[in-house]
């Protein structure tokens, strides 16, 4: 069955990030988005640990352990970057100044609820990081996730069963099979990857899908 790679999902997200956007890219798959931002756009990447204007990964041997991103990976700064302390960074996040935050998800509900920090397994230590701040603070929250878990459980649901990160915060979900907007407490499918039928997509989803009138095929380069 046709399915986008993580890189392809990240590519698709990148196309939606307009010139002049301030964006925070969460740890994991969202970090890949930085690699696919079109060259003709100036997009300013925020890192929760106090950077605005993150640049590409440094060449091997030129990493600086004091210049890292939220995923604790070495990064660089672009011209026009700024550095600030953590409280100022989260004032920026929580004060609603970021246009977009891209996050991963365990579950998303049709009301836009996001669960991405804890499961129901209490044997492992929980950890929330900046996810709750980002989910509530950014003007738009974009989610990168698979349509289903590895054991074929849908991740897009009527209601989340895992503890929430934030309620009603998700704007748009990019999955391995589709691009889905959250509108009026409904999953509205905008784009579906080639080779997936609407029925197949619905079967992989734990809530009712509405197919947008102008729903198109989700195409990406090979990545």
């Amino acid at each position: 069955m046709a399915r986008l790679s993580r890189k392809q999902i990240a590519w698709r997200v990148a196309q939606d990030i307009q010139d002049g956007t301030y964006v925070n890219l969460g740890i994991g798959a969202p970090e890949l988005v930085a690699n696919y931002l079109p060259d003709d756009r100036e997009v300013i990447i925020h890192c929760e640990n106090g950077l605005l204007g993150m640049g590409p990964t440094p060449p091997e041997g030129e990493e600086n352990p004091d210049l890292i991103n939220a995923g604790k990976k070495p990064v660089t700064l672009v011209n026009g970057a700024s550095i600030f302390h953590h409280t100022d960074s989260f004032a920026m996040i929580r004060g609603g100044h970021l246009d977009i935050c891209v996050l991963g998800a365990f579950q998303v509900s049709e009301r836009g609820d996001l669960a991405n920090w804890a499961t129901l397994d209490n044997s492992r230590p929980p950890g929330v990081g900046g996810a709750m701040d980002l989910a509530l603070g950014a003007k738009d929250v974009f989610i990168i996730t698979d349509q289903c878990t590895r054991d074929d459980q849908p991740k897009l649901l009527e209601s989340c069963t895992y503890p929430l990160t934030g309620k009603g915060v998700v704007s748009r979900v990019y999955t391995d099979h589709a691009l889905i907007d959250l509108e009026n407490n409904t999953f509205v499918v905008r784009e579906i990857v080639e080779g997936i039928s609407q029925e197949e997509l619905q079967n992989m989803t734990g809530a009712n899908l509405v197919i947008a009138d102008n729903c198109t095929t989700l195409r990406t380069p090979e990545l």
Binding site: C47, E48, N49, G50, L51, N64, P65, D66, L67, I68, K72, I83, F84, H85, H86, T87, S89, F90, A91, I93, R94, A118, S123, R124, P125, P126, G127, V128, G129, G130, A131, M132, D133, L136, G137, P163, L164, T165, G166, K167
Partner: protein, 222 residues
């Protein structure tokens, strides 16, 4: 004359005791005061309460203290790291208490502690398990939870430069929690790459004014 420099770790840690509450700067390893933390290990203190974004990273600092079971509790946003299993093991064995605080709330609570704020309302954690037991309140139709200030007996901070008055600069993203923790602790102890002459740091480039700093120890290559 104001001279906050100390020349060995015993002097840096004066007044510390078992059960101390310590804020420790750093985001992962960037800005983590590894040598100060390891001096605590060498001094034998136990039952420590650590306030830090992560419960260590890699092999050094907090990880060493955890391995030696010196830490009773960690208040943090994200306790585990990709390169250490010790936090998971201690937690699973019931040997480590964890208090999970959203990262922005953690930082803002420390700022409140340093700035005389008795409490503040934030949207972060509303409708989540991390808001359980906390007061909530609505302003103009938006829900908030009440968060209280966070202070500590000690702050351990890593900085780039200091003068003898305690003015600090930081290195790039190693700045992270240092400036806020320096405000929020009774005694702020700083390990710096380099001590410079008074007047060498441009007043406009001081990130942490010396008023927040009590002791400075130079740790070359730290």
């Amino acid at each position: 004359m104001i001279d906050k420099r100390v020349y060995d770790f015993d002097a840096a840690l004066e007044g510390m005791a078992d059960g101390a509450t310590i804020m420790s700067s750093g985001f992962g390893a960037a800005g983590a005061p590894q040598e100060l933390l390891e001096a605590v290990l060498d001094c034998g203190f136990r039952d420590l309460v650590i306030i830090s974004n992560n419960a260590g990273e890699g092999e050094r600092g907090l990880i060493k203290l955890l391995k030696e079971k010196r830490i009773a509790k960690v208040i943090c946003s994200f306790p585990t790291s990709s390169n250490s299993e010790i936090t998971k093991e201690l937690y699973a064995a019931g040997l480590l208490e964890l208090e999970i605080v959203p990262q922005g709330t953690l930082s803002e609570r420390m700022r409140a502690g340093g700035a005389g704020i008795g409490g503040f309302y934030t949207r972060t954690s509303v409708d989540t398990p991390l808001a359980e037991g906390k007061e909530s309140r609505s302003f103009e139709g938006i829900d908030y939870v009440l968060e209280r200030p966070l202070t500590a007996q000690f702050a351990f901070i890593k900085a780039r430069e200091a003068d003898r008055w305690g003015n600090l600069t930081y290195n790039l993203s190693a700045r992270n929690f240092g400036p806020t923790m320096a405000m929020a602790a009774d005694t702020t102890i700083v390990q710096v790459d380099q001590i410079v002459e008074l007047g060498d740091i441009d007043p406009e480039q001081v990130v942490t004014p010396g008023i927040y700093v009590d002791r400075i120890i130079e740790v070359k290559g730290g």
